[in-house]
Every structure is written in structure tokens, then in C-alpha cells.
């Protein structure tokens, strides 16, 4: 069988450009969380290798890459069926530099429960050659809000020690843009088309992160790949807490949201600037705490942008910009404001 080595790209300083994550048995310690970008670029390599076949400009691999920079040591990744799973493991290839398992669509959290239980049992009987092995689960919105919700809720209630990262591209993108419980109101999808009578999705976005808060697990947060430092810090916290942690990461999708391939980060930024997708974290001790740009907006409301800023760059909302749909846009703004105001009331660090 032909041997395969990773591409050798000349590096003058720091780690090789691409590497497999190898933790020899007996490995001890903790990988540092590096927040300085230059040091990060020299010392960290992502758990996801290039050659994956996610669309050009997809935000999901950015979320995975940033999350993996915050891994603290040996980590097993569990992946629900979805774009990320499909595009990163097209046989005979894998893009994963860490141990990885995909089981099915609706069971990432229960598969993760099993992995975590196995780690505990192996440790108890002296068969785990590490101090700890972390379990990080990635699921899309379909696999989390909808078909995988029961498994997630059950696993959260049972208190397994894992971090579940939802990469939310707000529709079933892997099957070609069908509406999910994560699709925002008025968005066009192929199953919530903009027709003569019905202008896109007629229902709200399920408040999945709040639902996870209601489980009173040790850590819940929202994040976007644009706010990369915030995301990395949250991932590390989610891994460090004992018990289930949940991060809801917004993942712009150029195919489904109908925007340019260069705009994923820009749109994630606008989602936060317009308060469509506020950044916060929650623990049972602190309650809701705004973070990063959302905290800045709470302190200085003049920074808050109108929802048009989020809508105008996405084809899925283009009907909202038509003069005859001014009312819908207003409704969308009201919906966003209501959710934001509600959050401000609950956030312990929001100015009162």
C-alpha cells in the first residue's frame, strides 16, 4: 500500500503547515489557549485538514478550525450527518486530524454520550492512557433543532461531559436548502418559498440556546466565526466545565443564504451588529452575560444597526427589500428587537 505523508510546505518558524494530532499514550498536560494571532499561526494547527469539499466560502470549517484551536488535549469529535460530515469524509479520504465518528443524523448527542461513557469506564479500569479525553460534538441546525433534539435534550439531562457545537446555517443545506427549526422568519428556502401568497418562512426561529439554558447545564453560549477570539474562549470554557456544554454558532452559507462566497464573515459580523444574533454566554452561577460586540452594543445602543444591514446582502431575504414588503421588514425588525430587549433584561452585565 502506498504510504501517504502530509504536504510538506516550507515553514521558517513554528509548526509544519499541516499535521495529524498525535497524543502518544501517557501524554500529559494541557494545550495552551493562544489568543495572540501571530503565535496562533505559528503554534496551532487545526484538527481539520484541507482537501475537504465544503463549498468555497463556507463558514462551517472556520468554526471547526477555530474550535479546534481551543481544544485542550486528546479529543474525540462526533459529527451529526450534514454538510460538515459529508464533505469532510468522502471515502477514501478524511479531513480529520483527530479521532472522529459519524453515526447518523439524529443521534450525535447520544453517540457522544456513549463515547463519553466509554472514556469514563476505560479510565475507571486503568485502560485510558490519558488524564482526560474530551468529547466535542458538531451538529448542524437540522441535526440539532429538529431531528436530533430529543437526543440532545436527553444527553443534556443526563449530564454527560461533552461540548456540543451547533453550526447553524439556518436550513437543511446538505439536502439543498429546506427550512428547519433554525430558519429565521421570512427567509426563503426551497420548502418555504416566496410565493404569491406566502412570503417565505412564516414561523420564528426556535430559541435553541435558550432551550439549552432551560436544561440548566453548566455552560451555554452563542458565537460566530467572525468573532473568533470570543468563539475560541467559549469553546475552551465549554470543554473545561464538567458536564454538558452547548455553543450555538451562526454559520453563514453562501449557497443557501444567497450571498457572495467572500461574505460569510461579513454577514456573521452584521448578524451581531444588528442584534439578530447576539453574543452571550450563560452559566447557572452568572446567568446570561453579554460578550464581545453585543456587550459593546448594550453599553452603547447607537452601535446597533438596523436589520436591513443583515438582510440586504442575502438573496434569501431579497423580497423583504421590495417596497410592497416594507411591512414584513418592519415585522422582522420588531421580532429582532423583541428578542434583543428580552435578552437585555436577562443579561446580568447589561446596563440597566
Amino acid at each position: 500500500m502506498p504510504k501517504q505523508t502530509l504536504p510538506q510546505v516550507p515553514i521558517k518558524k513554528g509548526e509544519p503547515a499541516y499535521k495529524l494530532w498525535i497524543f502518544e499514550p501517557g501524554w500529559k498536560g494541557e494545550l495552551p489557549l493562544i489568543l495572540n494571532p501571530r503565535q496562533l499561526a505559528e503554534q496551532k494547527r487545526p484538527a481539520l485538514l484541507p482537501g475537504h469539499r465544503l463549498c468555497a466560502g463556507c463558514a462551517a470549517p472556520i468554526i471547526v478550525k477555530l474550535a479546534s484551536f481551543a481544544f485542550r488535549g486528546p479529543t474525540i469529535v462526533v459529527n451529526a450527518t450534514g454538510c460538515l460530515e459529508v464533505a469532510t469524509t468522502i471515502f477514501p479520504y478524511t479531513s480529520w486530524a483527530v479521532p472522529w465518528i459519524h453515526n447518523a443524523f439524529e443521534n450525535a448527542a447520544s453517540t457522544g454520550s456513549g463515547v463519553e461513557a466509554a472514556i469514563k469506564a476505560l479510565k475507571k479500569t486503568g485502560r485510558l492512557p490519558y488524564e482526560h479525553v474530551d468529547v466535542v460534538i458538531f451538529g448542524g441546525d437540522g441535526g440539532t433543532f429538529d431531528i436530533g433534539f430529543q437526543a440532545l435534550s436527553g444527553a443534556a439531562e443526563r449530564g454527560h461531559d461533552f461540548l456540543y457545537i451547533l453550526y447553524d446555517n439556518e436550513a437543511y443545506m446538505n439536502t439543498g436548502i429546506q427550512r428547519s427549526g433554525g430558519t429565521p422568519p421570512f427567509a426563503w428556502t426551497t420548502t418555504s418559498p416566496v410565493g404569491k401568497v406566502i412570503p417565505g418562512k412564516q414561523q420564528a426561529k426556535k430559541p435553541i440556546a435558550d432551550i439549552m439554558v432551560a436544561h440548566r447545564i453548566p455552560y451555554v453560549a452563542t458565537a460566530t466565526p467572525a468573532h473568533w477570539l470570543d468563539l475560541m474562549k467559549k469553546v475552551r470554557k465549554g470543554i473545561e466545565v464538567e458536564g454538558p456544554a452547548f455553543i450555538h454558532a451562526l454559520s453563514p452559507c453562501d449557497r443557501g443564504w444567497r450571498h457572495g462566497t467572500e461574505l460569510a464573515i461579513e454577514i456573521a459580523r452584521r448578524a451581531v451588529d444588528t442584534c439578530y444574533f447576539p453574543l452571550w454566554e450563560w452559566t447557572p452561577e452568572t446567568g446570561y452575560m453579554l460578550t464581545d460586540r453585543s456587550l459593546a452594543i448594550a453599553r452603547n445602543p447607537s452601535l446597533k444597526q438596523p436589520i436591513e444591514k443583515f438582510v440586504e446582502v442575502q438573496g434569501r431575504f431579497k423580497h423583504l427589500l421590495k417596497p410592497e414588503n416594507r411591512e414584513l421588514l418592519k415585522k422582522f425588525q420588531e421580532y429582532v428587537d423583541l428578542v434583543w430587549e428580552d435578552l437585555l433584561k436577562r443579561a446580568a452585565n447589561a446596563p440597566k
Partner: protein, 420 residues
Amino acid sequence: MTEVVKTPKIPPEKQILMTINGDEAVAYAAKQSLVDVVAAYPITPQTIIVEKFSEFVANGEVHTEFVPVESEHSAMSACVGAAAAGARAFTATAANGLALMWEILYIAASLRLPIVLAVANRALSAPINIHNDHGDAYGMRDSGWIQIFVENVQEAYDTTIQAFKIAEDERVLLPVAVNLDGFFLSHTLENIRMLPDEEVHKFLGGYRKTYPKVKVDYFDEEVPLILNPARPLSFGPLDLYDYYYEHKMHQIEAMKRVPEVVREVNEKWYELTGRKYGDGILVPYGVEDADVVVTVLGSTGGTVRHIVKKLRSRGYKVGTIRIRLFRPFPHKELAELLKGVKVVGVMDRGISFGSYGPSFLDISTALYDLKERPLLVNYVYGLGGRDAQPEMIEKMFMELLEIAKTGEVKEKLRFLGVRE
């Protein structure tokens, strides 16, 4: 039927006599098998297994991580995660619970995870019914699992331990379902003999700690087929028309190696305990000179044998074969045993609607290549827990003996014990 060897390694007096039901027997067997992860959800008539196991956990008698999942789908999913991470994983279910697991059964087998599943066989809905038939097990027939049917509580205990040995054998690496009839076995007390814990540990080689090795191009050496931070592998990729078929060939080849392993394990168990179940695959009785043979799965095997004894004492040339290993199906072995038999009655506690009973289909296939084929009649019986009365079985034999005389099968598919 239990055959006893003169001098087993652990003589009966050194074994532990217990009066327990089938579910408890399975729970004790799983406990002694050093199971790392049990992920299960209650469903009648399996519930006692998870209850009993929860007691072991609550009393600190096991190291096992018990995952009280929110559904059977998650039970099997958690077992997949646990087994892939290198643990010995066990679960139990029945009927609708097994149906809910269905999707993940295929995944467990395809990923080659040696999970053991106890199925307390129960009829599928609707209408909802909690009693025994084999419709649930027949439903998972094509999922890639090894399926063993037991006849009594002792065998449920013995087979659960054997199942781990079979599943984890490097020639096999497939999940095993141990089928015990709901209520008839799951809830019925029997006196059984259990091995001391350490003997079961020795039989299984202790904890699950050796793993099959695979070769991938990005490591120089062969690496263990588990989720291993030292040598990362990816489980469950997207596999299209260029490789999917090849991966199915792996499962087909592994299934071919199962019978020899089942035979070996049955023999080893015999040496250790003095108990064996035929050759581990088929349990024949009175077949050598028989004109009429009835095949059967599960607990009805005992009733059928009782009738065979009775009829033979009256001079009738009848016999029976209990099919212990249903998947992979022992086509060749059955054909060998049934060579020269005039009529075979195939009892199925389930049916493939619009066709015949699933074991009938396999037996027909098995016998097709014989030069002189026996006549075949399929008897569907016992659906939804309808009792398989001895009189009913005796009547069936008399019918088959009549067919042997006349050489004429009037109805190929018969329904036993149903009101018209």
C-alpha cells in the same frame, strides 16, 4: 436441550445455582462479562434486564457506566459510540424498541462494532401487544447482526456470555443479538447454574482491551480500529458507488466466518461448564431416522421436543431441529441434516406479509440444491403471544405424517392456533 459432559472444568457443584428469570439471567451474564457501557431504555418484556443492571450499578457491584437513555434509538447510538471508543457495550430491547433502533442496527454492523443486544422477543404494533413472537427479530434479519435464539433461561445466561466472545473474535467483529422469548423466558423462573465471576472473566479474556488492527496509508504501522487519540481514524464516512459495495463485501465475508466461531465457542463453553447446545448452530433431536422433521426457533423448541419424544415412543419416525443460529443462516448444515427426510414442517413465530415465515424462506433455499427434496410446509404460530400448546404441535406432526404417507401438500402455508 442441555447436554452434560462428565467432567467439565467447573463441575456443577462449583457453579452457582440460582432461581431466576430470563431477564435476570441476561443481566447477571452481562455483569459477569465486564461490560463497560450499558445504554438502555425500558420496554416490556425486557425491562427487568435494565432494572437488574441498574441495581448492580447502584450497589457498586460493577464498573459499568449505565446510560439511561431517552429512547432505544439513543440506546443503540450510545452503544455505537461506546464500542467505537473501545468499550464493551451492551443493551437490551424488544419489539417497538428494536424497531426504533433499526437505523442504527445497520450502522453498528457496518462499523464492525462488537455490541451485544438482548432481545426479549415481543410482537410488533399495531395493535399494541406485549407478548411474544419473533416479528421483531425477523425485522432485523438483514441488518448485518448475528442472531441467536435461545430455548431456556440457562441458555439465555450462557449465550449472553458467549455472545461477547463471538462478537469480539477478530474473525467476526460483528454485533450479536441474543433472542429470548418474551415472558416465556424473560419472566419465567428457572433453576440455572452460573459460573463464578472470575471464570467468566477468564473465558472472555478480562476487559475488552485488544482491538482489531487496520492499515491506512497515513500510518506506517497497523493501528487499532477504535477512536484513538494516538492514531486517529474516522468512523462512518460518506461512501459512494466507488467503495460502498466493497465495504459490504467485508460484512459478507465476516458473516461466512461466524459459524466456525460459534461452534468453537460452544465447544469451549462445554469444556468449561458441561453445557452445550447442539453444535452451537443447530440442535437436532431424533433426526437420523426421521421421515418428518419440524424446525423451530426459541422456547417452543422444548415443547416440540417433548412431542417428538412422545411420538417416537409410539413408534413414529419424527424428529426436530431447533435453529439456534438464525443469522448467518446455516443453509448447508440444515440441508445436510434434512437429507433423506420426507417432510419438513417449518414453524415460524412471525410472517413476512405477502410471503412466508422468514425461516421457511431460508429453509426452502437450503433444501433447493438437494437431489431429493423433502416436502415443505410452513406453520405460522404463536403470534402476539398465542400459546404453542402441545396438542396443537402434536396435531401438526400428525398432519405432516399424513403428508409423508400421501406425498401431497394441500396447503403450503398453514396457520396454527388461530380462530377463523
